[in-house]
């Protein structure tokens, strides 16, 4: 395994599609290294990741196209290892090493 660095970080991949890549430097896939626990000592979860993406990865000032009222904007689907995050506990899902998280917008046209 060895995907965690001294047990302190978790490496995952994050994908954006359906037009969301435009907010993240027009790049579809990102490798992200997160601390294994948040500042209060709890395992890193999706809430932490979403906040991290907004503050570290987003290249566009229009944060509300991704997050609205502190939640993922309605109309954006989230897949955790290809499964709908509604089946995985949504924001409470605790990230595991090598997880793949996909954010796909349904809001853009053709």
């Amino acid at each position: 395994m060895g995907t965690t660095d001294n047990g302190n970080t978790i490496d995952i991949t994050v994908d954006f599609s359906g037009g969301l890549e435009m907010l993240f430097g027009n790049q579809r896939r990102h490798s992200v290294s997160l601390p294994a626990v948040d500042s209060s000592g709890k395992p890193t979860n999706m809430t932490f990741l979403i906040d991290y993406l907004c503050t570290h990865l987003m290249k566009d000032p229009r944060v509300d196209l991704f997050v609205l009222d502190k939640h993922i904007r309605p109309g954006i689907l989230v897949l955790i290892n290809d499964a709908d995050w509604e089946l995985e506990g949504e924001e409470t899902y605790e990230l595991q090493p090598r997880d793949n998280i996909l954010f796909v917008s349904t809001l853009h046209g053709g």
Binding site: S17, G18, G19, R73, P74, G75, L77, L79, D82, A83, D84, E86, L87, E88, G89, L102, V104, S105, T106, L107, H108, G109, G110
Partner: protein, 399 residues
């Protein structure tokens, strides 16, 4: 974490929670169920007849790409015998259409379908870039929308095709229902819920096979089948009002996922209350008395197999008579009772505010545009009216 198993096969890990009924399904079962439901919509609404030539309005986006893929699959699986063609419109917006047209070109190869691209410039003598140069960004969506509506029909005519299918999904229909509700436009609301538009007088019939498909499932279908689609946003002004309706629909979906199909069904039920508008819901949607309606349904489905042209004309005449009959009511909306054969024909007047109807239910008599011959309820069709204005402006600019 314990993984939920697929509710259908009970063997594979569930990856989808369906918005319409919360069912948890694995990838394979989801794809099958999604296709089966579209097949059901197609057969219960009798959208096609064997040997029919059908143009798929293709933008390269998720909806039309999924529509092309599903129709190809179902056509082969169930032997519809359809001759499928991709039809794309090039509005002439530099930097917007180029990538999506490239996607459509790849789709044509992937699905082994012929592709026809029709440009606004060849149809109207104006690209959207030129329109915006002339009139500015404000209001240009009106031009684009009017032009596009005719462009698909004209493109189909060039190909000798009488049926165009579009990728409009349940979310789109729900948005349109809400927009027309908020505008007080009941006539348009009821037309917008029809799975088939264009009646026996129009040369090209339009239909929406994905009318009952959630946008969420369309995107997930495209994802799990690894379909090649392109997402973009028009570089000119977005439709602000539709954007608000869209945000509202998505917020409602989050709280109550069934809301989307419920709005669609509400729209269909309202359609039954509007004079001269035919009911259009899926034939099996369980509406009481729906079977009774089928007999004297005024039609509108021009290519229903076995329907004679004479029957269509008779149906059209009946619709016109019905329109006239309801004209006298002016402020009343008439509901034809459908509880049973005996009760048919009995009418109940539902009074509503006059201000709404005068705007909401204009009497429409179809004819043809005197300039271009395109089907129109006015002497001059909308596209020709807009073109007249544009051409005057061009003359001014050239002077």
């Amino acid at each position: 974490m314990a993984r939920a198993l697929c509710a259908n096969c009970k063997a594979e890990r569930a990856v989808i929670k369906r918005p319409k009924n919360h069912a948890k399904l694995c990838k394979v079962c989801f794809i099958q169920v999604f296709e089966d439901e579209v097949h059901h919509t197609i057969t219960s609404s009798k959208l096609f007849y064997p040997g029919e030539k059908v143009a798929i309005g293709a933008s390269g986006g998720k909806d039309s790409t999924v529509l092309a893929s599903v129709l190809k699959t179902l056509n082969e699986r169930h032997g519809y015998g359809l001759d499928l063609v991709l039809l794309s419109i090039d509005e002439g917006i530099k930097g917007y259409r180029d990538d999506s047209l490239d996607t459509v070109k790849r789709n044509a190869v992937q699905y082994n379908m012929p592709l026809k691209i029709v440009g606004y410039d060849e149809l109207y003598g104006w690209t959207m870039d030129q329109v915006v140069e002339t009139i500015g960004k404000k209001g240009n969506c009106t031009y684009c929308g009017v032009f596009r509506r005719q462009a698909l029909d004209r493109g189909a005519k060039m190909l000798g095709i009488k049926h165009v299918v579009t990728g409009h999904n349940a979310d789109d229909v729900a948005e349109t229902v809400l927009m027309n509700l908020l505008r007080g436009d009941l006539a348009r609301l009821s037309r917008s819920t029809s799975i088939v538009t264009g009646d026996s007088r129009s040369e090209v019939k339009r239909s929406k096979p994905l009318k009952y498909s959630y946008e969420k499932e369309i995107v997930l279908y495209a994802h799990h089948k690894k379909l090649d689609y392109f997402s973009t946003e028009c570089i000119y002004s977005p439709e602000a009002f539709r954007g608000s309706a869209r945000a509202l629909v998505k917020q409602l979906e989050r709280v109550r996922p069934t809301a989307i199909l419920d709005i669609v069904r509400s729209g269909e039920d309202v359609a039954r209350l509007v004079p001269g508008e035919e009911p259009s819901s899926c034939a099996c949607s369980g509406q009481k008395g729906a079977a009774g309606l089928v007999d004297d349904d005024v039609g509108g489905c021009g290519s229903q197999n076995g329907r004679t042209p004479g029957g269509e004309m008779a149906a059209m005449d009946k619709q016109l008579r019905d329109n006239e009959a309801s004209e006298g009511l002016e402020i009343d909306v008439v509901k034809t009772m459908v509880e049973g054969n005996a009760a048919r024909g009995e009418k109940r007047d539902l009074p509503i505010r006059a201000g709404n109807t005068s705007k909401g239910a204009p009497r429409q008599v179809l004819g043809n545009c005197k300039r271009c011959g395109y089907m129109s309820s006015q002497e001059i069709c909308q596209a020709c009216m807009l073109l007249e204005g544009l051409n005057k402006n061009r003359a001014k600019i050239q002077i």
